[in-house]
Structures are given as structure tokens and as C-alpha cells.
């Protein structure tokens, strides 16, 4: 193993960016998803159509916004629509290819918690809550989750289902009337998890260079299945790294 010239956050961001295809419409959450989407837009996906829940459609910010409603998002958008429109006319109507979400907790079936740690009525930690996530997870054609790996975050069962992933397994999304495919990939600072096509349980399908599958299993709160065909993430290119760093302000 050579010493990498990139950080684990950087390869996470680059890997997430690579998941976005050119000309896709992408509903972008703030933070890691926003960074990754903007990296994609500046590298292989110049036609990526970024939507932020503040109503900015087709925005191409020239720097990373801190919030989902920074002025730069409005200035560079194809059009800015009121909040009810972005949720009803764009998200609910099924016009968004990929929803890009973060999470505080995720479970074996890719259900997402951004509400509370502990009991809802008497929480140990109160988190910000749902925001746009429940309907992003329901209505986008597919969902990609980006979050840092830890056994506190990757749990057997989330304390609170804020946004439905694959419920409790096969057929649950259909039963619940959720029209998108749900989470198709979870990208972390250690590797990539994808739902098993049959069981819908998240399995480890890729690791970043230098990461052992066992280390990922250890950072996961359930008995994580490792794919027989485990991929190793291609290293970030110089071009990708320079875009990431120009956006995040890292040297």
C-alpha cells in the first residue's frame, strides 16, 4: 500500500460524484451531497441538472453554498420556483432522477434517520429532522446516500425511520406506494454498499484503496455481508482532486 495523496473524505466525495451521470436531474442535499454533485458537474457531468429544495432548478453555483438557499444558487439557476412547486411539480411528479442524501443513522435496509437518537418522546440527541428527505427518498427514481462510516451511524435498525430505504425487505417499497427505486448505493469514507437485489439488505460491494473489508465490517453495526465480487475504488485522479479541493478550500 502506497501512501495515498488524498483523504478518505476526498475519495468518498469523488466516488459519490462518479455515481452521477451526465444530464441527470439531481436533488441535492446540503453538505457532502452538495460537494459531490458540484464535483460531478465540474468533471464528467457538465450537464448535471442540480435542484436544491429552496426552489433553484438547474443551478450551477460557482462556489459551494453553505445552506440550501444561498444567493449563489438563485443567481445561477435556470429558474427559481416557490417551495411548493419544487416539492409538488418537480419531486412528487417523479421528474428527479437521483436524490442525494446524507444521514445521521442508516440501517441494514438503508432506512434513514435524521430525527432523533434514542426515544422520540425523550431523545438522547435531537437531530434537525426530516426536511425534504422523506419525499426525496420516496419519489426520486433512485437515491444515493453519502455519509461517514461508523458503527454508531451504521446500525442494525435506525432509532427512527425518517426516510424509508427498503423498509424491512423485499416488496416493502411497493406496499408503501413509494414509486422510486430507493437507495441504490451508500458511499462512505471506507467504501460502497449496495442493496442485495433479492434481500434488499445492504452489502459491501466496494472498498476504497487501502481499506480492508474487515475494517468496514467492524465499523458497521450489523453483520455486514461482503460481496464475493468486491471492487476496489479507482483512485481519484489529479483532475478530480483539484476540483474537490478548489470547492472545499483544501490545499
Amino acid at each position: 500500500m502506497t501512501t495515498a495523496n488524498w483523504t478518505s473524505d476526498e475519495i468518498m466525495t469523488v466516488t459519490a460524484a462518479r455515481s452521477l451521470r451526465d444530464r441527470m436531474s439531481c436533488f441535492v442535499g446540503i453538505g457532502l451531497p452538495s460537494t459531490a454533485a458540484n464535483v460531478a458537474h465540474r468533471t464528467h457531468a457538465p450537464g448535471l441538472w442540480m435542484v436544491y429544495e429552496s426552489g433553484t432548478l438547474g443551478t450551477v453555483p460557482d462556489h459551494l453554498p453553505l445552506s440550501i438557499g444561498d444567493g449563489i444558487l438563485a443567481d445561477t439557476a435556470d429558474t427559481v420556483v416557490p417551495v411548493p412547486e419544487v416539492f409538488n411539480y418537480w419531486l412528487q411528479a417523479g421528474r428527479i432522477d437521483v436524490g442525494f442524501l446524507g444521514a445521521a443513522q442508516i440501517d441494514r435496509y438503508a432506512n434513514i434517520n435524521t430525527t432523533v437518537i434514542g426515544d422520540y418522546a425523550n431523545p438522547r440527541v435531537r437531530l434537525p429532522g426530516a426536511g425534504g428527505a422523506p419525499e426525496i427518498a420516496a419519489s426520486c427514481r433512485e437515491v444515493i446516500v453519502i455519509m461517514r462510516h461508523s458503527s454508531r451511524a451504521f446500525v442494525e435498525k435506525v432509532d427512527f425511520v425518517t426516510s424509508v430505504g427498503h423498509g424491512s425487505g423485499p416488496g416493502d417499497r411497493e406496499r408503501l406506494g413509494l414509486r422510486g427505486a430507493g437507495p441504490v448505493r451508500v458511499i462512505t469514507d471506507l467504501g460502497v454498499l449496495e442493496p442485495d437485489p433479492v434481500t434488499r439488505e445492504l452489502v459491501l460491494t466496494g472498498v476504497h484503496p487501502g481499506v480492508e473489508a474487515d475494517a468496514v465490517r467492524e465499523a458497521t453495526g450489523w453483520d455486514l455481508v461482503v460481496s464475493g465480487d468486491l471492487a476496489v475504488t479507482p483512485e481519484p485522479t489529479e483532475a478530480e482532486l483539484s476540483v474537490v479541493r478548489s470547492l472545499t478550500g483544501a490545499a
Binding site: S67, P134, G167
Partner: protein, 276 residues
């Protein structure tokens, strides 16, 4: 129609009211929130899709007994510590919460603005929000038999928003990210609008929302009244102030000092840029 902020708040906001101070990252009526704190209002049901630091301040100051919301955080920074403290430790007073998704809240305002008792949406299905919120129910489509989520209309006693401009008759104009402000004003019994300036004529601006004077009860001129959020075309978002709030809000003592400074400052209007 156009009165000083303290007078407008005194006239329109009362103890026990349901109050929405709306603004989706942009044009947040921060100065009006501060005036509510100064006037020591109590037992408010605060409503907002995205309660951020001004709601953290209102909650920390003990103005609210209930919060109706969909995402409560310091955007891009982290959590709201006064909000957390109220929810987990009932400090300074217990805070009941009613929690929705953005889509649910947006449609609740739309129903409120439309004179409908409820709104329908594809949402909430399978989430734990349903079991924890009696205001999330279902209806069945009379044509297809599909089941959809239903949420009740939201009709605040008073909505407060900030806008770039008003004319002397009280017609209000805002632009940039206009969020849910139009619906929040139209859904309310009473509306208070703080503005950057009053002008003779509201020259049309691309992307504008105009709120006709007949749906506005009071206008107050408060330049910088949205800081540390921003007013498109007037000043930028003070991201540093949002980051700085994290330390202030984090413990009760530093918050207490902040609160004392606020309430010691009698303010009719706030200087531009003042946010914390």
C-alpha cells in the same frame, strides 16, 4: 400601515398566538423575532419549515411552548442547541413539537392560503413521523382508490416575513428565493412585513412575488432586518455569524449573556448587518 417595528409587533402578536416567521434561508425576519423576544411574549406556537438560529433564540428566551416544523438546524453548521435543550431538558420551558416533512409543511401552507381544510400529497408513507403526529392522516382517491397522505391546513394567527421593498400603500415586493412566504402570508389571519426600504413605486423585478397591500396588516422599515440571513440585491448571507452562533447557543450561560445584551438594547429598527 407603515409603523415602527415595536409597535407592529405589539399590535399584531399576542401571548398564546400561533406565529410563523417564514423565510427559506433567504429573507428571514430576524429583527422581528428579536422584537418578539424583547417584548417578552410567551406561550407562542412557533411555526416554520426551517427554524434556524432566530428560532433557537426565541426558544431559548422562553417565548415558545410549541414548535411546528420540518427541519430545525443551523444550516451548514449543525444543530440548534437551545432547541435541543428545550426538547431534551425542557429548558427554559417545555417545548412541545409537531414534526412534518418539508413537502408536508409546504402543502399545509398551500391549503391554508387556499381556504381548504387539508392538503393531499404523496408523502410520509412508511416513516415513523406518522405514528408520532396525529396531524398526518390518509385519504383515498375517489377515482383510483390510491391512498395518499393528508395534512391539515396551516393558518397562523400571524405570519411575519421580511421583504426587500414596500410602497407607501403597503404593497410588498420580494424576489430571489421566495420560498413559502406568499403562502404563509395568505394563510395567516394577520401579516407583518419588515422591509429593507419603502419606495414610491415597486418597479417590476424578475422573479418577484408581490403581496398586495390588502393581505398585509403592518409594514415596518428595518434595513438589515434579515441579517445574518440575506436580502437578495441588498446584502449577502453572513455565513460567519451562523458559524459563530454555534458557540453562543451551545451553553445556557453564553446564551444568557447574549439574551441580556439583546433585551438591554431598546430597538425600533436595527442597524444593517446586525444579526446576533
Amino acid at each position: 400601515m407603515i409603523v415602527p417595528l415595536d409597535e407592529a409587533v405589539r399590535e399584531l402578536v399576542h401571548d398564546g398566538d400561533t406565529v410563523a416567521l417564514e423565510g427559506f434561508t433567504h429573507l428571514i425576519p430576524v429583527a422581528a423575532g428579536h422584537e418578539i423576544i424583547r417584548q417578552g411574549l410567551r406561550d407562542l406556537t412557533l411555526v416554520r419549515m426551517t427554524p434556524d438560529i432566530v428560532y433557537d433564540q426565541l426558544i431559548g428566551a422562553g417565548c415558545a411552548s410549541k414548535l411546528v416544523f420540518s427541519w430545525g438546524g443551523n444550516p451548514g453548521v449543525g444543530s440548534l442547541h437551545r432547541f435541543r435543550d428545550a426538547v431534551t431538558s425542557s429548558w427554559p420551558v417545555p417545548l412541545e413539537i409537531e414534526e412534518h416533512s418539508h413537502a408536508g409543511m409546504a402543502n399545509r401552507y398551500v391549503a391554508g392560503a387556499s381556504g381548504l381544510p387539508f392538503a393531499i400529497l404523496r408523502g410520509y408513507s412508511g416513516t415513523d413521523l406518522v405514528a408520532n403526529n396525529p396531524n398526518i392522516r390518509t385519504v383515498t382517491c375517489p377515482f383510483t382508490g390510491q391512498e395518499l397522505a393528508a395534512v391539515p391546513a396551516l393558518n397562523p394567527d400571524v405570519t411575519v416575513v421580511h421583504a426587500q421593498r414596500a410602497d407607501r400603500d403597503g404593497n410588498v415586493q420580494l424576489w430571489g428565493i421566495t420560498g413559502i412566504q406568499k403562502e404563509a402570508v395568505l394563510a395567516a389571519d394577520r401579516a407583518l412585513v419588515t422591509v429593507e426600504e419603502v419606495v414610491d413605486t415597486l418597479d417590476p423585478v424578475p422573479g418577484q412575488v408581490v403581496l398586495p397591500a390588502r393581505v398585509v396588516n403592518r409594514v415596518s422599515v428595518v434595513p438589515g432586518g434579515a441579517a445574518p440571513s440575506y436580502a437578495h440585491g441588498y446584502y449577502e448571507r453572513d455565513n460567519e455569524a451562523y458559524r459563530a452562533w454555534d458557540a453562543v447557543g451551545r451553553d445556557r450561560e453564553s446564551f444568557g449573556a447574549w439574551l441580556k445584551e439583546l433585551t438591554d438594547t431598546p430597538a425600533v429598527s436595527e442597524p444593517a448587518g446586525r444579526g446576533l
